[in-house]
Point group: C2
C-alpha cells in the first residue's frame, strides 16, 4: 500500500523535519522516524534518563523500545531556534501524554535538543538529547495555556 | 593585570572553543566562560536537572550559581562529533570531580551536548544541554581507562 507522500519526501526545512519527527512518534511509525536521521555521520540520541546511543542502528533499537507499547503522544512546544546556513538547533519542551494518567498528572514534560543539518537528502536529525523538564517549564507552559484559553 | 591571551582570542575551531569552555570552568573564570557564548541568537543552556536557561543573561546567572562554591573540575571525554560547514555538534561525557567525595565515588558523570556555530568572532557556543549519565557510560569510561592503564 502506498505510504503517504509526507513520509518519503526529503524534508525541505528543519521545521518540516521536526514536524515529521513528532508525527512519526505519534503514529508509532519507526521506519518514517528513522528516515529522518542522517546516516552520513555518527548521530547521537539520548532519551530521558537513558544511555547515549550513537549511530543509526543503536538509535533505531532505542526507538523500538520507546514504541514497544504503541505510539507516543508527544507534542513539541515553546521551541527556541538558532539557525545558521545548513544547520538548525532547536530546543523544545515536549509534552508527553501519559497512557496510565492519574487524575493529578496527565502528561510528562521533557526538554529536548534537536539538531538538524542540511544534506543532499534534505534536512536530517544528527542529534536528539532529551532529559526531564522541571517545575520551571511546567509553570511556563501553564502560564502560556492560561493566556491562550 | 593582563589576561592570558587564550581568554580573549576568538576560538579558531569548535575544538578550541570547547577546550576554552572546560578550562574556564576549571579556573572558575566566569568572564572567560561567557565570552565563548554567541550573543547573536538566543543561546540555550540546561544544567543537569535544571531549568532551561535562554539568553546570555540567564546563562551567566546560571553559571554564577554553578561556580558559587569555586571552580569546577570537569573534564570532557569520549567526544562524538558531527561537523558541517560553520557548525559543530559535540556530545561529550563530562567527568565532574566531586569536592566532598566519599571513598566510593570520586566523580559524577554527565552527558552534555555542545553546539558551536562559526560567526565573525570565531566559533561560539549556542547550546549546552547537560543531563546525568547512566551506568552504561560509567562502564564505557571504566573500560577505556582499563585499556589505557
Amino acid at each position: 500500500m502506498a505510504q503517504p507522500p509526507s513520509s518519503h519526501a526529503a524534508p525541505a526545512s528543519a521545521e518540516a523535519a521536526e514536524a515529521a519527527f513528532y508525527e512519526a512518534l505519534q503514529r508509532g511509525d519507526l521506519d518514517a522516524l528513522m528516515r529522518l536521521w542522517s546516516d552520513d555521520d555518527e548521530p547521537v540520541c539520548v532519551h530521558p534518563g537513558g544511555p547515549r546511543l550513537v549511530g543509526v542502528a543503536a538509535i533505531r533499537h532505542g526507538f523500538e523500545q520507546v514504541l514497544a507499547d504503541g505510539a507516543l503522544q508527544v507534542f513539541p512546544e515553546r521551541v527556541v531556534r538558532t539557525v545558521a546556513l545548513g544547520c538548525a538547533v532547536h530546543n523544545v519542551l515536549e509534552r508527553v501524554q501519559l497512557a496510565d494518567a492519574d487524575e493529578g498528572q496527565r502528561y510528562a514534560l521533557v526538554l529536548a535538543t534537536n539538531v538538524y543539518l542540511k544534506g543532499p537528502d534534505g534536512w536530517r536529525l544528527v542529534l536528539h538529547h532529551a532529559s526531564p523538564a522541571t517545575a520551571h517549564e511546567a509553570a511556563e507552559l501553564l502560564a502560556q495555556h492560561e493566556r491562550l484559553h
